[in-house]
Point group: C2
Chain length 383, copies 2
């Protein structure tokens, strides 16, 4: 087990009916900017619940934060917040709205052009306090300090971390998932799954509890996915999905172990270039990563195959191959296609992505051996 | 899954050599009271590491906090802290020192007789900031807000919770366990095991990740226990034990599920009356609890038997019995005897304990059906 430091101050308020708690969770003297996305909160009753809970608070609203939240949109909100003297941000949405709100909160306390702290290695540690009412389970942003922002004009998608961006609290009411489009449920399951494996599928870290915990989330996802796809209005299905998604990226399973974020890093470039859903890019890239890197990850792939999918028959190589196949089949079972050709993505994009990493001198993987050439190989594998 | 609120602000600094981080973790202007126990920290080098790290800080010392920390001892430290104007407490020890320090920190901010907030249902939410350097893995106190205090003169052992008692940080260096007496390792493994089952062995809560996580800690304990008892100076064994013990009682596995603290409640009374080690009382009581309450806990006992001990053969009743036997055998394998007669505890004590719960009108268990009569039955079962 590696040495580590862990701290996560976010309060989780979980369960049906808990949105009403907003009234007690935000100090009454705050000037609150409520941020949201494309307007689904007006259709599913969440907006009314939030407004009802905050009827004695001073609130402003900023909507229209898009999937893969856009720098230009967010900068408009920053200007709005400055004008109104906002001192509390409430994100009502999924990962994009929450990530966008983390950016807004950080930008409000940052002197200079906010794009700097995304593009350059600049440490930010100030932000306007923020909280969330989660409406889509996927990114885990409701209980971590990370944020990913896009700038379409420059075809860029970049991330930053800020300790001050841990939400003060996040309200997780599983019933908000009842009306979520099926596609977003599938994407959320994939995003959660890939978050876990990127903190797990490396080598033997001699971290037994951490392994069992990662596998516990994966097994839960595999078990609930078909039930959830078949019946989205079942409270238990939604509660277990929502819980799993938050636990997958809040630091709980990564203490003392190696990480490999290659899939997210490569997937992010596909979104930047083609605008594909984040979850879809992960389903595309991940089978390529474990296929090409199977020698390095062999021990863990065997353990994963056995403990998550019950694969115990065959030679080592056969079991490894079965584990890779089972992973891709799981993504396919959610209705997501896992070949670049399914999305009309070809050689040009593969080259462009490899070159982007080469230009930045980036190597990926837990052993820092996923070079631009390996990235090319990974993408060819899933052509 | 039940609705729940979760928040745990403690920072964990984990790994060999991390005690040196103390210098950066406590503000330099603090007047620190270092609290400790019987003096083992002078023999194993921990005292020197702490003093070296804090050589530029203003420190005072209070030693002699005993196992099952004593109210009178702690009140002497409270007086000492008042005299010196202490504004930071650093517990260097195991659960008893940490629990005692939580009491000291709370008493320093409490107006009136501090025994009140143990004996009466009084909510305390203030405390002098405290942190810990853990030297014994067992109670999980290093990452929670609970504390158990004894008052021998009155034969009482009572607990309290205080949100302000979450340690600001806890340093967990697994190498401190190398020199721990074998008996304390065994007690710590049992304490950790029973913490987990008391948050797990109830009924089906439809909380899949939580079940897997609890079982993951239990499996880890079962796997490492013989290795640890055989070779205590192995870093991996100690790191996994230390990690498991902290994760067992920090709120991570209890979100949204039922709890049954009967074993701790009954065991506490045995310690109050006979001074037995906390871990030993748990090993005594727990087999009685799951044996007498087997009908209520049947579903979970079957799942536990299969997932933790691989019990799949036999009728339902046989498998339940095997799971109970496997639990008691695990405790025995650590050199701990599990019958009251092994400790010369007889009918008088059984009656006294049942009467204490009757007098307080206490019923225990996840279904509030462990009445004083059931408590008598449980203790008879392990006579």
């Amino acid at each position: 087990m590696n040495n580590f430091i862990f701290q996560n101050p976010t309060k989780i308020v979980f369960g049906k009916g808990e949105i009403a708690q907003l009234a007690n969770l935000i100090p009454s003297d705050k000037k609150i900017m409520i941020t949201y996305g494309g307007g689904s909160i007006f259709k599913n009753g969440i907006y009314e619940q939030v407004k009802e809970a905050l009827k004695k608070h001073t609130t402003f609203e900023f909507g229209g934060i898009e999937a893969n939240p856009e720098y230009e949109t967010l900068m408009r909100c920053v200007a709005e917040c400055r004008k109104e003297g906002i001192d509390y941000l409430l994100a009502v949405g999924g990962g994009s709205v929450i990530d966008g709100t983390k950016f807004i909160g950080t930008a409000l306390k940052y002197e200079g052009d906010p794009w700097e702290f995304l593009e350059k290695p600049i440490v930010v540690d100030q932000a306007v306090p923020l909280a969330t009412v989660l409406t889509i389970s996927a990114t885990g942003s409701e209980m971590n300090k990370g944020s990913v922002i896009s700038r379409r004009e420059r075809k860029q998608k970049l991330f930053f971390f800020n300790d001050a961006c841990y939400p003060q609290f996040s309200i997780l009411d599983p019933t908000v998932l009842y009306s979520l489009p099926k596609k977003q449920v599938a994407n959320g399951l994939i995003d959660t799954f890939v978050h876990v494996v990127e903190q797990y599928m490396t080598f033997d870290n001699k971290a037994y509890v951490q392994d069992y915990w990662a596998e516990g989330i994966l097994k839960t996802l595999v078990e609930i996915a078909p039930k959830l796809m078949a019946n989205q209005e079942d409270y238990d299905n939604c509660a277990n999905f929502m819980y799993a998604a938050t636990m997958a990226l809040n630091g709980f399973i990564v203490m003392g172990v190696a990480e490999d974020w290659a899939t997210h890093m490569i997937g992010q470039e596909i979104t930047a270039l083609h605008g594909l859903d984040h979850g879809v890019t992960l389903a595309l890239v991940y089978p390529g990563v474990i296929s090409v890197m199977r020698e390095d990850k062999k021990e863990k792939l065997l353990q994963y195959g056995e403990r998550v999918f019950g694969i115990t028959e065959g030679t080592v190589d056969e079991r490894v191959e079965k584990a890779i196949q089972a992973t891709e089949s799981f993504f396919n079972s959610l209705g997501v296609k896992t070949r670049l050709s399914d999305y009309n993505i070809g050689e040009d994009t593969i080259n462009e992505i490899a070159e982007r990493f080469a230009a930045k001198n980036f190597v990926l993987g837990e052993k820092r051996n996923i070079t631009p050439d390996k990235i090319r190989e990974i993408l060819h594998h899933v052509k």
